[in-house]
């Protein structure tokens, strides 16, 4: 069985619940985002899925390997980019990579060309004989990504690959991830950065200790559809009428303006009809897209309550 199956996965540290009741599925070849603020449990989740931490509830399989029972075989098929690159500074880039090839019992002569190929694609070509201690943060991060690839893993977990990088290095790292995605690799990307997930992932799970929302990134966008209406007089009067509409998820009124959040912008004419029916004189109705960020922040706010 391929892909990742997660069922009711949870982890407690003493009486602190880091993650609970997580359910999701990642298809082979998919780039899946785990989006959530700091402390949401992303790292804990990834550690459970790579066999570093034992779940305290639920179960998960990665490429058919049970995370709790098949630790050794699981770790042969996964690659993990940890939050800190964790390289050996005194060793050269090449020696760092060779160490991991040895740990995976690879034939180094056969594995090296692939590593070199990625080094070159990520702009580290020709630097492999230099000690890593002299590398910039972005270079280190890219080298760490190459390191997660030396054994050609089925699934790659990237934990906050761009956090702590300056915008320039963050971009080159993001490009590197996009390259891997274009190779059809299965990638789980943890991030607190909405724009990054939006750019790189096909589907996303928004988490904050538990799962808040899961779906294609465009669905998250659709949750941001709204209609801005200008009416004559106090807009507040029409709030109740609109709130009764089943497809209006939320209504805000301010002066002569109404903002109606919609499940789908196909419902815009119904909103206008409803207002007219309630006796409103409608001056304008403009569909608008709430920024994704606002949708995300709303979601987190709901998650807290």
């Amino acid at each position: 069985m391929s892909g990742i199956e997660v069922q009711g996965l949870g982890k407690r540290f003493g009486d602190r619940v880091a993650v609970e009741g997580l359910d999701f599925h990642v298809r082979p070849g998919e780039v899946f985002g785990l989006l959530g603020p700091n402390g949401a449990g992303k790292t804990t989740t990834v550690r459970m899925l790579t066999g570093l931490l034992r779940p305290t509830e639920g179960e998960a399989t990665v490429w058919g390997h049970h995370v709790d029972r098949d630790g050794e075989s699981l770790r042969k098929v996964v690659g993990l980019l940890t939050e800190q690159p964790g390289l050996y500074d005194r060793l050269t880039a090449r020696e760092n990579l060779r160490f991991f090839m040895k740990l995976h019992e690879m034939d180094e002569a056969a594995a090296w060309p692939r590593a070199l190929h990625y080094l070159e694609r990520f702009g580290l070509g020709g630097r492999e004989a230099e000690p890593v201690g002299g590398f910039s943060k972005g270079m280190r991060q890219k080298l760490a990504i190459v390191r997660t690839l030396v054994h050609d893993p089925r699934v790659i977990f990237l934990d906050e690959p761009t956090s702590g990088l300056d915008p320039e290095s963050a971009r080159t790292v993001r490009d590197a991830v996009a390259e891997l995605a274009s190779e059809g690799r299965t990638i789980v990307l943890c991030s607190h950065n909405l724009a990054e997930v939006e750019r790189l992932c096909e589907r996303v799970a928004v988490v904050k200790r538990r799962l808040l929302l899961m779906g294609p990134v465009r669905e998250l966008r659709r949750a941001g559809q709204a209609l801005d209406v200008r009416v004559e007089g106090e807009a507040e009067r029409f709030r109740d009428a609109l709130a009764s509409l089943p497809f209006a998820t939320n209504v805000l009124a301010e002066g002569m303006r109404l903002r109606v959040m919609l499940e789908d912008d196909a419902h815009a004419p119904d909103v206008v009809a409803c207002l007219v029916g309630a006796g409103a004189r409608v001056h304008s109705a403009v569909p608008s897209q709430r920024p994704l960020e606002e949708v995300y922040l709303d979601l987190l706010r709901e998650g807290r309550s």
Partner: protein, 266 residues
């Protein structure tokens, strides 16, 4: 769970490579053998220089009241120094692995290299084996090289008085070949165990270093005349250390469990 020697050797390879590039650690490792070799040579030299000094005889009689009248006090004291110094010499195989292992285990935690390492198929036993080998091999080699310098130095300095090679004798040869590795294993085990728990390499090093105190204490006892060292005495020390080694090995494999190591970084 299988034990794959290749993965243990990978850790050994990496740690030795790292050690060779760690000049600071190499320098601190060089101090101890230098002292261990030069001090006894100096002491022997001082006896050889004034073999007939009257005070030497009183010192010798303090240690052995039954010393025959015709026997050379200087020669007696040289023999005693060499026998006692072996206890001190054992500090080296204990201490060098402590220097190396606490850096290599706690250092991995400090520099956050442990998590990527634990995300590979390596098992706790392989990790302990690789790390231990990387501390033991240099420690035993350093001890042996120091021993060669010690023998040559002592023999050169003592020659004018004794006209024959004193070193290597049975006690030292047995000690350096058999006891030194056992003691190195002990120092390493303590360091691995402590660094698996301690927050940083420095603290791990300082805590582990405390284990040499009993050794130094016993040498103190010999010098003060309470303990009489000899082959049997050192063999007994070796047996005790052998048992401790087994316990340490078992404990460190248990303690270097993924979950424990990973979840201890809060």
């Amino acid at each position: 769970m299988s034990f794959r020697p290749r993965r243990a050797l990978a850790v050994f390879w990496k740690d030795v490579l790292d050690l060779r590039k760690n000049l600071g650690l190499l320098a601190s490792m060089a101090v101890l053998p230098t002292v261990m070799v030069l001090v006894p040579i100096g002491v022997v030299w001082s006896y050889v220089r004034t073999p007939n000094h009257a005070d030497l005889r009183s010192v010798a009689l303090f240690y052995d009241p039954s010393l025959p009248l015709g026997a050379s006090a200087a020669r007696f004291l040289i023999d005693k120094t060499l026998t006692d110094w072996f206890g001190m010499f054992l500090v080296m195989p204990v201490f060098v692995p402590i220097l190396i292992a606490s850096q290599s285990v706690a250092g991995e935690k400090e520099r956050r290299t442990l998590e990527p390492l634990l995300a590979t198929p390596i098992t706790a036993a392989e990790l302990v084996a690789g790390k231990s080998l990387a501390a033991l091999v240099p420690a035993v080699l350093i001890t042996w090289v120091a021993f060669v310098f010690f023998c040559v130095g002592v023999d050169l300095v003592a020659w004018p008085l004794v006209q024959m090679p004193l070193m290597p004798d049975a006690l030292w040869t047995f000690g350096v070949l058999v006891l030194a590795p056992l003691f190195a294993f002990f120092g390493n085990g303590v360091a691995v165990l402590i660094s698996a728990r301690a927050g940083d390499a420095r603290m791990a090093q300082q805590l582990s270093a405390l284990v040499v105190l009993p050794l130094v204490g016993m040498v103190g006892g010999q010098v003060a005349g309470f303990l009489k060292a000899g082959l049997l005495y050192y063999a007994l020390q070796g047996a005790v250390v052998l048992v401790l080694d087994a316990v340490l090995l078992w404990a460190s494999i248990r303690l270097l469990d993924r979950e424990r190591l990973v979840s201890r970084w809060g």
